[in-house]
Amino acid sequence: MHATIQKEMDVILTYLQPDEKIYVVGCGNCAEKCKSGGPEETEEMAQRLEKKGVNVIGYSSTPSGVGLCSLPMCRKMMIEENLDENNAADSFLVLACGQGIHTVIDATDGGEVHPGCDTIFGGETEQPGIVKEYCSLCGECVTAYTAGLCPMTLCSKMLLNGPCGGAKDGKCEVDKEKDCGWHLIYVRLKDAGKLHLLEAYYDPKNFAKWSRPRSLVVKGTEATFKSLAGEHTVSRED
């Protein structure tokens, strides 16, 4: 999921002009799980803005479980269900991740948007309300060699060939509360009897696969990932 956190009201207000007609848009998937922009928080934001004197002309969120970042779903909500209000709006305050913000631009044929949240990372929901980052969306997963733990994410220095000399008591040099990613990898590999994987040399990362923006096109059983590293097509048929 894309973890998001709401921006402070004082910050949001700096984006809005006096008398600007605002429509608040939320996301029923990740932003709902983060309590930053689900149906409840979207309604709440509309009320909070009104109390600050903002001209809120409407609000809506994709239903619970449905991501705003699906353009067909976003379009359905913005165009089919709330067309008049959306046409009347000067701009949209989006309570979702950056993908959701862009989906609103697409769904409204280039409408003006304001971010209501900061998109902070892609994460695992360990329990409701607790989200942690285990993947950096780098474009080429190396965890086959690292016991399922991503060194690009769990190691502060994104090292690929083992720990630096900065870890103390299994904790990282940047923060003594943070586990050293390579210590975790070492322990898991050792426990699994697979320390030989740590002994192997791993080439530098291909950062062209981490170029932005990237795209994915799925057709039938084929998927094509496009980045500055080129087009990479994989078939599900063996």
């Binding site: 220095k157 060939n161 083992g162 000399g165 900065g166 070492y186 040399y201």
Partner: protein, 292 residues
């Protein structure tokens, strides 16, 4: 040819020193520190934005040492440069006559005085060593021919006091395979632990230069124990510092550094003295350590 390489190859016990470039442009006093030890050490390391604190560059400082007839060890970290810049700086270093390079990961940007900087880490230290080896072979990392190539004597670092030590040793082996020709260690205070470490890595057949950091106070020792990874100053040494009068502290610092040097000597091929501004004490340390 690198004198450091020559001495290590012919089995001499080597001594190296270290200076840090200035925070600013007044470099003369830093060079004078190196001048003080010029005839006592085979080479002088120049740190590369140590602790991620902005300073003048290692490369320029190494060049100035070179001009004064002092052999530098160019410390190069992966924190601030991508693979293009790392290779380019290596080529530049060789053009300037620098023969030794120490390849490090680098302290994280968040620890320094520009914590909002983008940490690069395009390479890790193993990649950097490998890149240096490839440049030495006349190619760049993507296989293109070089028009003139370096022949660096490249070293790496290891932390003998790391706990657990096994992943450090695994990485050390990878560094050797990537072309590390010598190792400098994190500061050694626990000689027994250092000896055990050396026994574990003897088979690698790569010279190890033990890091000796001068103890300036008991407080510094406690601070390092608490904050610095891989450093274990035994209580006995801390007590010794505590029981020393302020006026005798430099004398005691020399005594401890010399004693540690004597104690680690049987286990290693040299000592890297990190005197943290007290470079003037190096001649006394060497004399008391009875190393010629």
């Amino acid at each position: 040819m690198s004198s450091l390489k020559e001495k290590l190859n012919n089995g001499s016990f080597v001594l190296t020193g270290e200076i840090g470039p200035p925070k600013g442009t007044d470099i003369e006093k830093h060079l004078e520190k190196a001048e003080l030890i010029k005839d006592k050490v085979v080479a002088v390391n120049v740190t590369d934005l140590q602790s991620a604190i902005l300073r003048a560059g290692s490369l320029a400082t190494c060049h100035l040492l070179q001009q004064r007839g002092i052999e530098p060890v160019y410390q190069l970290t992966c924190r601030d440069r991508n693979r293009l810049a790392l290779q380019s700086d290596l080529l530049s270093a060789w053009i300037l006559g620098i023969k030794n390079v120490l390849c490090l990961t680098g302290d994280h940007t968040s620890l320094g005085d520009h914590p909002e900087a983008k940490p690069v880490f395009d390479f890790d230290s193993v990649h950097l060593l490998k890149a240096s080896s490839i440049l030495n072979s006349g190619k760049d990392l993507t296989g293109h021919d070089l028009d003139g190539s370096p022949n660096f004597f490249q070293g790496a670092v290891v932390s003998p006091g790391a706990d657990p030590i096994e992943p450090q040793i695994i990485k050390m082996k990878k560094k050797v395979a990537a072309g590390a020709k010598f190792f400098q260690t994190q500061a050694v205070f626990d000689v027994e632990q250092f000896g055990e470490f050396v026994n574990k890595v003897n088979g690698l057949q790569v010279p190890i230069i033990a890091g000796i950091v001068i103890l300036k106070s008991a407080g510094m020792a406690s601070y390092m124990n608490e904050k610095v990874a891989g450093i274990n100053v035994p209580d006995g040494l801390i007590k010794e510092m505590k029981n020393t009068e302020k006026s005798d502290i430099k004398k005691k610092a020399v005594e401890i550094a010399a004693r540690l040097t004597r104690q680690v000597k049987p286990f290693c091929q040299g000592v890297h003295l990190m005197t943290l501004g007290w470079e003037e004490l190096i001649p006394d340390i060497i004399e008391q350590a009875e190393i010629s």
